[in-house]
């Protein structure tokens, strides 16, 4: 089958499939098509959900039928294919590494024959692309971590991981947006709320965005935490130009 193609997901959803592997190229194509599709503002579309290899489109068949939607998608695919120039938006997330906030930092260091300081330097030196969000509200699947700090997930998952915990599982890194169980190695914590139901934008991060972790000390962590709780903290965001 030649990519991209359309697949039936249910009688109220379909997927536009762009590939069969996890890669930056595919995710970039999905993001470009997602933006182009949503700009069309087609009646009867509930929402689109970008994942690693496909864009799932949830729709109301009371307003638009599968065949009609397929026609619009095919017409758009021909155009959107050439429109994949997207600027890189990077959001800086402050992190207090190690100690009680990152109980597995030493373990990650030992596993890779590094010092904790080297782990922090490596982890905070890259801009990570958010491939997709899923699992729990605001949980982001980030790609592009340095293999030098890759560490297998815990054999026995923790029952409760505090919201804001930053972890490593295999070659992936991520942040827990809400208190939840989980098996990732915890190397630090951010005072920033990735998920806040009462905020105008309840979920801070979005697929296609990049994240850069900024190491902070405990004093700075507590200062930011106070501002977050007062609703007066905004993460620094910058645009890096076209991809």
């Amino acid at each position: 089958m030649q990519y991209p193609f359309i697949k039936i997901v249910s009688d109220t959803a379909l997927a536009v499939v762009f590939g069969n592997e996890i890669s930056r190229e595919i995710i970039t194509q999905i993001r470009a098509f997602d933006e182009a599709f949503n700009e069309e503002q087609i009646d009867g579309i509930y929402e689109t959900v970008p994942t690693y290899c496909a864009l799932t489109i949830h729709y109301d068949p009371g307003q638009i039928l599968y065949g009609e939607l397929c026609e619009k998608i095919r017409a758009l695919l021909a155009v959107a294919h050439h429109a994949a120039r997207i600027s890189i938006v990077v959001m800086e997330i402050p992190v207090l590494y190690g100690g009680e906030y990152g109980p597995d930092l030493q373990k990650v260091a030992d596993h890779n024959g590094l010092s904790p300081e080297e782990v922090i330097r490596i982890h905070s030196s890259r801009e990570y692309l958010i491939y997709m969000l899923g699992f729990t509200p605001g949980f982001s699947y980030m790609g592009g971590m340095d293999k030098a700090i890759a560490t297998p997930r815990l054999k026995t998952p923790r029952v409760l991981i505090p919201a804001g915990s930053v972890g490593i599982a295999g070659e992936q890194t991520g942040i827990y947006p809400i208190d939840s169980p989980g098996g990732w190695n915890l190397i630090g914590r951010t005072p920033v709320k990735l998920y806040d139901a009462n905020r105008d934008t309840p979920i801070l991060l979005d697929a296609g965005m990049h994240v850069k972790f900024i190491p902070v000390d405990e004093t700075e962590y507590l200062r930011i935490k106070g501002r977050v709780e007062a609703g007066r903290y905004h993460c620094h965001t910058y645009v890096k130009g076209d991809e």
Binding site: I8, D11, P61
Partner: protein, 363 residues
């Protein structure tokens, strides 16, 4: 003024049509599991489509009315009673201030829906009043209702037109449910034999059935290699088959994305049958196509529209509606399984008279 919870029941939550537009952020849709019963309940009390109701699970709550109200209960028969007297389901009922709604043993189905004329005064979060317990979000403080909780009506003293004659044929539940499915999106993860097993065998609902999903047990469905895929989107009614080979049906509180192969999806008009299943109930899967599924979807929506209009139409003053007779019973599960072929006939009881109506699908 509204209602006060005297007893919580097993799992009573506030639900509406669900939270749309946030799945890309990992936020589930939630909403009523039995969408059909949910819509019926709101139509009966004259509410608009998206009004919040109470979803009651198996063992119902005890609720005191702190003001007069008009309510309707649809879905599974969980033996509702007003001040100890059995309350008729599938019709609008006027309730006096101080009355107590209670439930008895579950007779049929799994979930009942209580709609209140004027709706419930719950602040929407991300455009919905639905409770999503896993994220402690929406509904009443993000949790199931507990004794002592008080909820006001959104538009107090609402009373729909023709309240005496807002009556519907009840849905019936029981027996073996045959639900129609669309194959895919990962039917290619299964062998020919696996697909044959899925479409010909009978599966039983296990004890693990909740708002998120139903785990079924039955003959193992054979994968080509395994049940893992690169994580992708999940629809309401998706049938996942992990490595173990037994299906899981995904419902309202499903996660937005998942990494298990989905052999098929149950079509929306047949999902109420799943919503009313409980442990031990039997399910069979029957293959259909997208045209049939979407036509059935449109037929059903046209039926809702026609019912709404019929209920709200002015009635001649001379024709005072007599006390309506109990609606005739229907064959099991017929009401939930809307036929997908040809114009769909249905029955409305209005002003004591019975109307047989046929609605063409709206193109």
């Amino acid at each position: 003024m509204g209602i006060m919870m005297l007893q919580s029941g097993l799992l009573t939550t506030i639900q509406d049509a669900g939270r749309r537009g946030y799945q890309r952020y990992g936020m589930g849709v939630s909403g009523a599991v039995d969408v059909h019963a949910y819509i019926y309940a709101n139509i009966l009390v004259g509410n608009r489509q998206n009004e919040a109701v109470l979803e009651v699970t198996l063992l119902g709550p005890k609720i005191e009315f702190t003001s007069n109200s008009v309510i309707a209960i649809t879905g599974g028969d969980l033996s509702p009673a007003i001040d100890g007297t059995p309350m008729p389901m599938y019709r609008a009922v006027q309730i006096q201030k101080g009355s107590i709604l209670s439930f008895g043993p579950p007779k049929t189905g799994c979930r009942a829906y209580i709609a209140f004329a004027g709706g419930l005064a719950i602040t929407p979060i991300m455009g919905s009043r639905s409770t999503y317990i896993k994220a402690n979000l929406g509904g009443y403080e993000g949790r199931r209702l507990l004794a002592g909780d008080e909820i006001a009506f959104r538009r107090p003293a609402s009373c729909p037109a023709n309240v005496e004659s807002r009556i519907m044929e009840p849905d019936h539940f029981g027996g073996t449910y045959t639900v129609r499915v669309l194959m895919g999106p990962q039917d290619d993860s299964f062998t020919e034999k696996g697909i044959e097993t899925f479409l010909s065998e009978t599966y039983t609902v296990t004890n693990e059935f909740d708002r998120m999903g139903y785990r079924l047990t039955g003959p193992k469905i054979e994968h080509v290699t395994d049940g893992n895929i690169i994580t992708d989107g999940i629809a309401f009614g998706a049938v996942q088959v992990p490595d173990g080979g037994e299906p899981i049906v995904m419902l309202a509180d499903r996660q937005t994305t998942g990494g298990y192969a989905k052999i098929a999806s149950i079509i929306n008009v047949d999902m109420p049958m799943i919503a009313q299943c409980k442990a031990g109930d039997k399910i069979r899967f029957q293959k259909t196509d997208i045209e049939t599924a979407q036509k059935a979807f449109r037929d059903q929506r046209a039926k809702y529209r026609a019912m709404r209009e019929a209920f709200d139409a002015p009635q001649p003053a001379s024709e005072k509606p007599p006390a309506p007779a109990a609606p005739a019973p229907q064959p099991a599960a017929k009401a939930a399984a809307v036929s997908g072929t040809g114009p769909h006939p249905y029955r409305i009881v209005l002003g004591g008279k019975t109307y047989d109506v046929t609605v063409e699908a709206i193109k």
